[in-house]
């Protein structure tokens, strides 16, 4: 495909038609031009293709891996409903196991997933990582986090509590009225 010089005029002509390129007869003086056009068209196609395909393939791969593992892990209640896991459960689990697992790369891996599986599949890590594509649909499946999620929640809570404290300890009640 890359060596157009070996192709006959008819082959180049049909390739041009394939790519929807308007063209005249492929003769000596026009051959160069058409070869260039074909190269450009093919490069464009290659660029457009990889991204959508890759995403689908990866998600499929992860789902397949996960499904295969499901029967072997009956103890884990999360197995039965991978996509319906509510956030609090997930956060709690994160909290539990963030202690035992260090490093954000790992936390990103099991963020939605079973840590047990991951301990077996660490080297292959990325495969089981965001299998909860269903749950993660609203946000990016594999966004790397420098700070674990639970830490962020804690900080948020701390700030909220602090603000409430400050607010409640204010002398005058004027602000309250204004807000109402």
């Amino acid at each position: 495909m890359s060596s157009f010089s070996n192709m006959s005029a008819e082959e180049i002509s049909s390739l041009l038609d394939e790519h929807g390129i308007k063209h005249g007869p492929v003769v000596d003086s026009t051959r160069n031009l058409y070869e260039k056009k074909l190269k450009e068209a093919m490069a464009k196609r290659k660029q457009a293709k990889p991204s959508p395909d890759k995403t689908f393939y990866r998600e499929e791969e992860e789902e397949v891996t996960y499904v295969y593992r499901t029967p072997t892990k009956s103890e884990n209640f999360m197995e039965s409903r991978p996509y319906m896991r509510s956030k609090p459960e997930w956060t709690a689990e994160e909290l539990e196991h963030s202690a035992s697992y260090s490093g954000y790369s790992r936390s990103s891996e099991y963020r939605g997933r079973d840590y047990d599986e991951l301990s077996h599949k660490m080297p292959v890590g990325a495969k089981t990582a965001p299998i909860r594509s269903g749950q993660d649909a609203p946000k990016a499946p594999k966004s790397p986090r420098l700070i674990p999620l639970w830490v962020q929640f804690l900080c948020f809570l701390a700030v909220a509590v602090f603000l409430y404290f400050v607010f409640s300890s204010m002398e005058s009640s004027e602000p309250l009225k204004v807000i109402e």
Binding site: K22, H23, G24, S29, T30, L33, K36
Partner: protein
Amino acid sequence: MSSTSQKHKDFVAEPMGEKPVMALAGIGEVLGKRLEEKGFDKAYVVLGQFLVLKKDEELFRDWLKDTCGANAKQQGDCYGCLKEWCDAFL
């Protein structure tokens, strides 16, 4: 309708005969030399190429750019000149 140069008017006024390639609008000394080196030494040879490209503007402009390095304006002038000539005489 954009104004056309004197060169353009002169070219489309009559059959091109044996006019040199530099008689074409948009083709000056430098471009003309490059075209001659590639074998396009007469205006009618460029006309031949123009016709083989089915008088398509985009194809002809690309070809001209690749062959002699014409810029957009030069491409447009040459294309317009040949097109009008064809409309009149072909």
